[in-house]
Amino acid sequence: MTDQELVNKVLSGNKLASVTLIQQHQRLVVHIVGRLIGNKEELEEVCQDVFLKVFEKLDTFHFQSKLSTWIATIAYRHAVNQLKKLSRQVSEQDLDKVAFQVGEEDTTFENENFKLFIHQLIDQMPMQYRIILTLYHLDGFSYSEIVEVTGLPEGTIKNYLFRARKKMKEICEPLLGTEIHLNSRL
């Protein structure tokens, strides 16, 4: 089923199509909200609010972009608004000024632990880096789609991706073959 057929069915009142639309996009919304809010307790509630907004505004969607990009934009804006409500940092921060911490629990630096370690590094990055890394690597969004979602210029997005990876390598390289400290909260 194409995006257009799905949207038309939802707008005509088909409940099954509504469920399908949510199931097709819930992973994307969870990625965006989870990465920005970072609170498992609030995650489901915020994701629900995102989908309620999606259905509320669905009749204004005219397929000028992919449905997933449009939903991601709503999820991003809603998550940023939630962060503002919670008085958390949403303005642009310099990656170089972040003091990365790796936590408390001793473990070896291999396989699954490495993935966990990288995710913990991402969680400590400024908001814009977190969302760009997630959309680009995890959800396979193109630069132009990330521009649409975040409103950031394409050059900035490329620069953030480059700097984030460079920072991860800088942190990881000295730790290779050693023991690292993983934060137990993930």
Binding site: Q26, V30, F51, F55, F117, I122, K169
Partner: protein, 106 residues
Amino acid sequence: MKEDLDKNIDDALKAEFEFSISSDFAMKVVRNMEGIYADSDRRLIGLLGIACGFGLALALVAIFFLSSPSSLLILQDYIGWIVVGVLTFLIVQFLDKKLVLNKIQN
């Protein structure tokens, strides 16, 4: 591992992170929507009740004024606008409700 660092970072970036939602999340959202519309229905009924009460009060006032022809002349200047206002309010509420419900109802 050092030489594979780039590849390992790539793999880690693509790895699903541990944020999960309930398996019946989609159904929950749809049920919530239905709940919101049901609440909205109840609000509409409440508003209709208020509007009807208001209309009834106006009718009683009008009947009262009918007993005094000179007062009726004063009332005539305003009654048209009051009726138009109430009717417009009711029509807008009704259309709004129809449009919202059409989106999701089976």
